[in-house]
Symmetry: C2
Subunit: 700 residues, 2 copies
C-alpha cells in the first residue's frame, strides 16, 4: 500500500441545516439562564379561560402549541387547564378575538391566565405568550390585553386550480387540489398555525382572476377538507367568485345580477357551499376589470352585482369583498383616476355585508404610490385595504424588500375625510365612522418553496402583514425587531444587523428601480426588470411611456390641474401640498409633476443628476446589504446564510440592470452626461432592451 496522499477535511455535512420551514415559530431552548429561571417560575400552571367553550379544537390547538413551545423554549411541561370564563362580556376588557394575559396580582404564584371571549382569542393569547418568551420579555405581573383593530384579517391567495400562483414567487400553490380530500399535506396545518400565530383569521383560497370550477361539488368537497384543516387554528375559508359562473357551470344563459334566475342560482350555490363549509367566510370578486366578467356586461352597476351576491351570503353571515381595482377599457382618462370615477357614485348603494376592497395606491402595487384617493371618499361604504405581500413590483422573491414601512405609509396617510387625523387606518378599521365588518387583505407571498416565501427574509412580510392587520399602530421597526428575534435568536449583532437591512430595503428597491415618484416602468408582462421603453401594447396605460412621459424638457406625469388633475381627487390640504413641486415630497415628485431636467432639487442638484445618483445609490445600497449580511456568516446557520447571500448576489446584478437600462434610456431625452459617482453602464441600451425573460415564476 502506497503512502497516503491527502487527509480529507474534517467538515461534516450539516445534515440538520436549517431550511427556514419553521418560520418565526422556532422553539429552540433559550440560553439566558436568569430569564429562563424567572419564566419557569411564572409558568407552573397555565389556565385557558374562554366563555364560549364550544370550539374545543381551537383550545386544544392553543394547549398543544403551548406545550410544544414551552417544552422547546424552557424545557418545561406546565399543567394546562381550561376554565369557563367567569365574568360577563360587558366588562369591555377586550372585544371579540381579543384576549388578556395575566400573572401575579390576585393570581396564585406560578399561574398564568389567558382569557378571551372566544376560543380563538385564547389561541392568540398563547402565541402572544410564546412570542414574549422568544423575545425575552418579562412575564412577571402581566396585565396585558390585546384586541385586534380590524375584524377580518385575510390572506388573499391568487392561486389557480392548476397550482400556478399568479404573481407567486415561492414555488407553486400550497393547495393540492387533485389529492384532496383524502390526502392532506401536513403543511396545511403548519400554514394555519403560522397564520394564527400572527392573528390572520381568514384565507381566500383562489385567484381573483377566478375559475368557476371551484364552485362545483368536485372542488367544494376539497375546499371543505382545507377548511377542516384550518378550523382548529381559527382560520376561515373564503373563495373568489367568478361572476359568470351561472353560465359556465350553472347552465344559465345569463349572469345578469338582476335576473331572478341568476340570483336564485347564486342563493342555491351559496346554500350548497355552506353545507360543505358551515363557517364559510364569503366571496371576493374582481368584476369588470382586466377582462373579468361582471355586472357591467349587463349594463348593471358594481353595486347591483355585489348586492345580489351579498343577499345570497347574508343569511349565513357571509360577506362580499368587491374589488375596486378597475380601469375601464373605454375610458382614456388617467388610469390613476378611474377607480374613484367608477366607484364614488355608488357610495351608499352597497349592502351592509359588502366591503369595497381597495389597493393601497391608485395604480397597482408600485414600489411607491400615494394612497388611493377612494379611501377619502365613500363615507357610506365599508372599505377594505388590499396590500400586496408578494413582491410583484419589488423584486419578487430574489430581492430584499421589507414592506412594513410601505404599508405604514398608507395606513398612516391622512385622507382628511373627517378633518385631520382621518387616516386610512381609521377608515378601514371602522373607527372613523363606526362601520362593521372591517377587513384588511394581503395578497399572499407563500408557496411550496421549503421556506414558504422564496426569499427567507420575505417571511418578515408575511409576519408584518399579520401584525399590522391586528394592530396598525405597531411600528415597522418594532415588528422587524420581533420577527428577527424570533427567527434568528437573541444574538444582538444578528438582530441589529438584520433589522437595519430590513428597514432600509424597500427604499433601496425604490432607488434602483423607480425613484422620485417614477412608476410602472417595468419590462412588459413579468413586472420584474426594467422597461422604460415599453410603448406599444394593447392599451396605452399598460405601457411605460404613458407613466414617465420623458421628453426633451423633462420627466414625470403631470397630475395637477394642467395635466390629468388626478390631484383633485385628494383633500384640499393634500392638493396644496402635492400640487406645488416646491412642497411636493420628492419621493412623489414625478408622480404628480412633469419636471424639467434642470429642476433644482432639495439637494441643490438638477433633476437629472439627482435621478442618476438615486439609481446609483440603490446599487450602492444593495452592495451595503451584501456586506452587512456577509458580516453575519459566522453567526448564522450555514444554509440560511447561503440562501440570503445568493439572493443578494442576484439582487446586485438586477439593481445594476435597472440603473443602466433606465439611465441610458432617459439619457436619450435628457441629453446630459452622468454626474460624477455614477458608474458607466455595462452594455449599450439595446442590450437591455433585447432581454427577454422566459418562463418567469408567477407569470403566465
Amino acid at each position: 500500500m502506497k503512502k497516503f496522499l491527502l487527509l480529507l477535511g474534517l467538515g461534516l455535512l450539516n445534515l440538520r441545516a436549517d431550511d427556514g420551514y419553521r418560520l418565526w415559530l422556532r422553539y429552540d431552548r433559550i440560553e439566558n439562564g436568569s430569564y429562563k429561571t424567572a419564566a419557569i417560575g411564572t409558568l407552573q400552571h397555565i389556565i385557558l379561560q374562554t366563555s364560549s367553550g364550544t370550539d374545543a379544537p381551537i383550545v386544544a390547538s392553543a394547549g398543544n402549541e403551548l406545550r410544544d413551545g414551552l417544552a422547546g423554549l424552557l424545557g418545561i411541561t406546565p399543567t394546562i387547564t381550561v376554565a369557563r370564563r367567569p365574568f360577563a362580556k360587558d366588562t369591555n376588557e377586550f372585544d371579540g378575538d381579543g384576549y388578556s394575559l395575566r400573572t401575579g396580582h390576585e393570581l396564585p404564584p406560578g399561574t398564568l391566565v389567558i382569557s378571551s371571549d372566544r376560543d380563538v382569542g385564547v389561541l392568540y393569547g398563547a402565541f402572544d405568550l410564546l412570542r414574549r418568551i422568544q423575545t425575552g420579555q418579562s412575564l412577571g405581573q402581566l396585565a396585558v390585553t390585546s384586541t385586534p383593530k380590524v375584524q377580518r384579517r385575510l390572506l388573499n391567495h391568487w392561486d389557480d386550480l392548476n397550482r400556478h400562483v399568479e404573481r407567486g414567487y415561492a414555488g407553486f400553490s400550497l393547495w393540492e387540489w387533485f389529492y384532496l380530500p383524502e390526502i392532506r399535506n401536513p403543511r396545511y396545518r403548519d400554514y394555519a398555525r403560522a397564520c394564527a400565530s400572527i392573528g390572520i383569521n381568514g384565507t381566500v383560497l383562489t385567484n381573483v382572476n377566478a375559475n368557476a370550477q371551484i364552485l362545483t361539488p368536485a372542488y367544494l368537497v376539497r375546499v371543505a377538507a382545507l377548511a377542516d384543516e384550518f378550523r382548529p387554528y381559527g382560520v376561515r375559508v373564503y373563495l373568489a367568485a367568478r361572476f359568470s359562473a351561472p353560465i359556465e357551470i350553472g347552465g344559465l344563459k345569463t349572469a345578469d345580477p338582476l335576473d331572478p334566475a341568476v340570483a336564485a342560482w347564486w342563493k342555491a350555490k351559496v346554500d350548497e357551499i355552506y353545507r360543505y363549509v358551515p363557517d364559510f367566510g364569503g366571496f371576493i370578486v374582481k368584476a369588470n376589470s382586466e377582462g373579468q366578467p361582471g355586472p357591467q356586461d349587463y349594463k348593471r352597476t358594481h353595486a347591483d352585482g355585489a348586492n345580489m351576491l351579498a343577499d345570497a351570503v347574508a343569511p349565513h353571515g357571509g360577506i362580499i369583498m368587491w374589488r375596486a381595482f378597475v380601469y375601464s377599457p373605454d375610458n382614456v382618462d388617467d388610469r390613476a383616476k378611474q377607480a374613484q370615477t367608477e366607484f364614488q357614485p355608488l357610495d351608499g348603494k352597497f349592502r351592509d355585508n359588502v366591503v369595497v376592497q381597495i389597493k393601497n395606491g391608485p395604480i397597482d402595487f408600485m414600489p411607491r404610490e400615494p394612497f388611493s384617493p377612494l379611501f377619502g371618499h365613500m363615507p357610506k361604504t365599508r372599505l377594505a385595504l388590499e396590500l400586496q405581500v408578494t413582491q410583484e413590483y419589488l423584486g419578487q422573491s430574489t430581492q430584499l424588500a421589507y414592506l412594513a414601512p410601505m404599508w405604514k405609509e398608507v395606513l398612516d396617510a391622512d385622507t382628511y375625510a373627517k378633518g385631520p387625523g382621518s387616516t386610512v387606518a381609521r377608515v378601514i378599521d371602522g373607527s372613523l365612522r363606526g362601520q362593521s365588518p372591517s377587513v384588511i387583505a394581503g395578497v399572499a407571498n407563500v408557496g411550496t418553496d421549503r421556506n414558504w416565501t422564496g426569499h427567507l427574509l420575505a417571511q418578515a412580510n408575511w409576519y408584518a402583514f399579520g401584525r399590522l392587520a391586528w394592530d396598525h399602530s405597531l411600528t415597522a421597526e418594532a415588528i422587524a425587531r420581533e420577527w428577527t428575534r424570533q427567527t434568528f435568536g437573541s444574538d444582538p449583532v444578528v438582530g441589529q444587523t438584520i433589522n437595519r437591512m430590513l428597514l432600509g430595503s424597500r427604499e433601496t428597491v425604490v432607488n434602483y428601480s423607480m425613484p422620485l415618484g417614477l412608476h410602472h416602468i417595468m419590462a412588459e408582462g413579468n413586472h420584474y426588470g426594467p422597461g422604460p421603453w415599453v410603448d406599444k401594447l394593447a392599451r396605452a396605460d399598460w405601457t411605460s411611456v404613458y407613466y414617465h412621459k420623458a421628453d426633451e424638457k423633462g420627466l414625470g406625469f403631470d397630475r395637477t390641474a394642467t395635466g390629468s388633475n388626478a390631484l383633485a381627487q385628494y383633500a384640499p390640504e393634500l392638493q396644496k401640498l402635492w400640487g406645488d413641486p416646491a412642497t411636493c415630497p420628492e419621493n412623489l415628485l414625478l408622480w404628480f409633476h412633469h419636471v424639467s431636467w434642470d429642476h433644482k432639487m432639495k439637494s441643490g442638484r438638477t433633476l437629472w443628476d439627482e435621478l442618476c445618483l438615486r439609481y446609483q445609490q440603490g446599487v450602492d445600497e444593495v452592495r451595503a446589504l451584501q456586506r452587512e449580511w456577509d458580516s453575519l456568516k459566522s453567526r448564522l446557520d450555514g444554509e440560511l446564510f447561503t440562501q440570503v447571500q445568493q439572493r443578494l448576489v442576484r439582487q446586485e446584478l438586477d439593481a445594476r440592470d435597472w440603473r443602466d437600462a433606465c439611465l441610458l434610456y432617459f439619457q436619450q431625452f435628457a441629453k446630459r452626461p452622468f454626474p460624477a459617482g455614477v458608474e458607466p453602464a455595462a452594455h449599450p441600451l439595446a442590450t437591455y432592451q433585447a432581454i427577454r425573460l422566459r418562463n418567469m415564476p408567477g407569470h403566465r
Copy 2:
C-alpha cells in the same frame, strides 16, 4: 375563578415528524449492540484508494458521506485517508465505475479499504458500505467487488422549462431555472447524492418533448450551474435536443440534417455547450413522434438525423440517445408494430455513439406489455432500455405500484436473438454482442414534493431503478428488502409487511385496471382513471376501443396471423408460445388474442367470469394493502404512516371506479351477469363516463 372543565390531552404535536425527505439515506443510530460493536471494530480506519486522483471533489463527497453516515449509524468518526491505487488496471478486478470493499485478510485490523479505478467508484463503494451497515450485514473479512453491468445509468426528466413536469406526479420540476445560476437550492446536492447512492451517473434535465430555449446561452449558464452541483457526485448532465432548434434559435431556414449549414450549426452549438459543461453527456432526441420535428420532415431517415448530431458530439465523447418511440401519423397498421417497422431497416446505419432508446413494451408503459420486439432485432445497433419510473399508467402518485417486478419481466425476457438466453438485459448491457456504450434510462418520478416522489413508497421505484441499472441480476425481492430496511429500519414486522405490500402491488394495479393483457383503456388524456369507452379521438390508436376490441363475441386484440400479426415480430419460439390461446400466458391473453366471452380459462371459468373476478380481486387486494399498512401504525413514524394511509384510502376508491366502470362497460358486449363474489357497481355506467378530472398533475 370557576372550576376547571377540561384537562387537555397530553399528546404533543410531533414537531420533528419524519417527512420522507431523507429517502433511504437514513443514518439513524442502529440499535443492535453486538452488530454495532463488531462494525466499530472493523471501521477504525478507512482508506479510499483511487488510481485517477484527479476528481478530488468526488472523493471528498465519499469522505463526507462516510463521516456523516458513520457518525449517525455507529456514532464513530474513523480516520479516512486517500491513497493512490497501487496496482495496474489490467488486474481486471473490476471495471470502470466498479469498486472493491476489503477488510481482514492481509489488511491491518480495524482497516477497511474502498478501491476503484475511478473516484466515482470510491463514492459508490462508500454508499455500498453504508448500505451494508444500514441493512445489518457483516463487515468482517470482506472481499467484495462490484462492477455495473451498464455504463450509462440515467434518469430522464420530462421537465419543461416552466417547471411543469410532463407525467410528473410529485409536485413540480426540481430545476429552478429562473433562480439559477446564482441561487442554488440545496436540494440539487441531495438529488445528486441520492442518485449516486444507487449508482445513477447521469441525468437528462429536460423533456423529450423539447424546447430549443434550453440550448441558448441564457439557459446554458444555468445548465452549467446544475452540472457543477451534480459533478461532486459523479452525475453528468444531458439535455433533450429539439431537432428544429437551428430554425427556432439559430435563424436558419431548415433543420435538414444533410444540409451542411445545419450540421455546422449543431457542431458550433455542441462546442458551445461543452464550454459551459466540459463533461456534458449528450442529447436525447424524440424525433418525428407525436408531433415533434425530426429528419423525416426533410425526407431523411432517423439515422441521418442521429448521425448528424452524433458527429457533433463525438469529438467531445458525447452520445446521442435516439428514441424509437414512434408511430407514424400515416401508417394505419397496428401501433404495436410500428417502431420495428420504422427502425429495423436502419440497423447498421447508426454511428457508434448513437444508442437507440426503446421503451420496455411496444405500446407505451402499460401496466403490462410483452417486451418490445425491437430488442430482438437490430444486432448492429446499440440499444438502450427506457423504463418509466413515474407511474403514468399505474396510478401515478396516489396508488402503490412497486415496479421492479415489471422491470424484471422485461430484463429477463428472452428475445432468442442469438439463441435461448438472449435476454433483453444482455442486449442492452452489451454482453450479447460486446457493444459499447451501454445505456439504461428511467423516466424520473421525482419532483418538488417534500418526500420527492409524492407516494412515500414510490421512493422504492427510484431506488429499484438505480439498483437494477447497476445490476439487473438483482431480484425485485432483494431490492425491496434493501430499500425497506434502509428506509424503515430493522423492525422485522415492518420489513416483512412492507416487502409483501410492495411485491404484490403492481399486479394489484394490473388486476383492477387492465388484467389479462388488456391495455390502453384509460380515460382520455390524463392516463389515470378508466375510459374503455373512449372511441373518438384524432387518431384511432389513441382510443381505447382500438385496443380492447370488445364486441358481442369477445374481447382482445388479435395480433396473430389472423389479425395484425404483430406476433410475427417476435422469435419463432415466442410466436409458437404466444400464438396459441391455450399456451399464451393468461396475463398476455387479450394482448395477442380476441377471445370469446365463453373461452375457458385455466381456472375453469369463462373469460367473462374471470375478467370480473380479476377486477374484484384487484379491489380486494387494495383493501388487504390497507389492512397490512394499518397494522403498522404503532411501529411507524406518525407522519409517514399517515402519508401512505391516506393514499391507500384514495387507491381503494380509484380501484372501485376502475372495476365498476370497466365491468359495466364490457357487460354491454358480454351481456352476462357478474359472477358471485363481484360487488355490484356503485353507480350506473353513465356516471363514470361523465367524470372529467381537471387540472391533473403531470397533464397539460
